[in-house]
């Protein structure tokens, strides 16, 4: 997902009898559905897992601006351009809500940026694919934001208060993102043969990377089990992927498109689709930094940060001068 394969430091899950009294009281609060707030005691593993997950989520929102930003100057109409600008601005906002939520756990913003810029922190694999045509902007809204919604809706019930509250704000805005994407594609499939082919091509390229967003099956993962015990994670990767496929296939059919999966069939018994396995080797390569656009994305983030340094410093200097001026005028009175 936007946070993929988050580690928890847990070699295995502790039983109640192995927990010290504080850990047990903490787990009982979680089980009772209580929210954990910033200043309260929490196990170190819980805190570190949350920092990893929230910051990875934040980095994904920030890096996620880049593939779409690529088309702002080339949007086909002024209205589409205004919509895309608003959408990309939302992504920046989502990143900022999430960084703030992570900071309540005692990590500084600069430390988080540094982890992203140094390549130490991960962000979602999906943003390392290129946006080659305008149809890709439609496909991202429809598929990528659609997959994000699948994951983010349950995260609104996450046990950590600031993260859950950030998710509420984000989910309110995501629906606009998905619908504007689908709207782009609806328009294009009613257009020329070439435009329709462009939409099919976009689906062909984005389908599998979208399914990979949920991460590999985590049914056997101790990290996932621990995250679920802490109610940082609510559903397994396979569960969410299934839900996404079931929701998305009829939407593709409405557009008159073919989902690029020969194994895709409706399974009456389970009331859902059977579908093929994504290429997990590709996924691990992209996560490891070898996707088509990893270097470009990180390069763009670093350049934006470095090129903005003089401006950030200028504003700091201005604020300091203004404070000193005020202090002098108060002293003179």
């Amino acid at each position: 997902m936007y946070a993929q394969m988050v580690k928890t430091d847990a070699p295995r899950i502790k039983s109640r009898s192995e927990m010290d009294p504080r850990e047990r009281a903490f787990q009982e609060r979680i089980d009772a559905g209580q929210k954990i707030e910033p200043k309260e005691w929490m196990p170190e593993g819980y805190r570190r897992t949350l920092i990893r997950q929230i910051s990875q989520h934040a980095h994904s929102e920030i890096v996620g601006q880049l593939p779409e930003g690529n088309w702002i100057t080339r949007a086909p109409t002024l209205e589409r351009k205004a919509i895309l600008l608003a959408k990309v601005q939302d992504e920046a906002g989502h990143g900022l809500y999430l960084y703030c939520a992570a900071e309540t756990l005692g990590v500084s913003r600069d430390a988080l940026y540094d982890q992203l810029h140094s390549g130490k922190a991960k962000y979602s694999s999906i943003f390392n694919y290129p946006t080659l045509t305008w149809a890709d902007i439609g496909a991202i809204g429809w598929l990528v934001d659609g997959a994000a919604i699948m994951n983010q809706v349950p995260l609104q019930r996450c046990s950590y208060g600031p993260y859950a509250r950030a998710m509420v704000r984000i989910c309110k805005e995501e629906s606009f993102h998905q619908r504007q994407g689908y709207d782009i594609l609806m328009k294009m499939v009613k257009g020329t043969t070439a435009q329709k082919a462009m939409v099919q091509d976009a689906l062909d390229r984005w389908w599998w990377p979208s399914l990979m967003m949920f991460g590999p099956s985590d049914d056997a993962s101790v990290h996932s089990a621990q995250s679920m015990a802490w109610k940082i994670k609510q559903n397994s990767n396979d569960e969410l992927r299934q839900k996404f496929v079931d929701q998305t296939v009829p939407q593709a059919e409405y557009l008159g498109l073919t989902v690029p999966d020969p194994d895709l069939t409706w399974n009456e018994e389970k009331g859902g689709y059977d579908f093929g396995e994504p290429d997990w080797n590709e996924f691990f390569e992209v996560i490891a930094g070898n996707g088509p656009c990893n270097a470009e994305r990180l390069g763009a983030r670093r350049q934006a940060w470095d090129d903005g340094a003089w401006f950030r410093d200028g504003l700091t200097a201005h604020a300091e001068k203004a404070t000193a001026r005020r202090a002098r005028s108060v002293a003179a009175e």
Binding site: E37, K39, E40, W41, A86, Q89, D90, G93, L96, Y97, C100, E103, S108, R109, D110, R165, A166, R169, E173, A309, R312, D313, L315, T316, H318, A319, A322, T323
Partner: protein
């Protein structure tokens, strides 16, 4: 140079007549920029009519361990609630 901008807490009045409500935080070099940034980050969809920003370090907060001394005294004083008193039906609405 390049030190991190201070953290500000953002409060929005959603509608006329309501209290300002905490919505989140952001970094900014000064109060004026904090309000500008709050506009871009927290009110992109007509969420309010007024913005307050306060430096996070200027907020004093109770700690979770003080929960008892702060909130228990009122739990013991049920007579502070109007439902504590039985008023006969004949008396009518009170």
């Amino acid at each position: 140079m390049s030190s991190e901008w201070p953290l500000w807490e953002v409060f929005i009045r959603g509608q006329h007549g309501l209290n300002h409500r905490h919505v989140g935080s952001l970094h900014a070099p000064d109060a004026e920029m904090a309000i500008n940034n709050a506009r871009d980050v927290y009110v992109r969809r007509n969420e309010g009519v007024s913005i307050w920003v306060v430096r996070s370090i200027d907020i004093a907060a109770s700690s979770p361990s003080e929960k008892g001394p702060l909130f228990e005294p009122s739990n013991a004083k049920v007579y502070r609630h109007p439902t504590f008193f039985d008023i006969p039906d004949e008396v009518g609405h009170m």
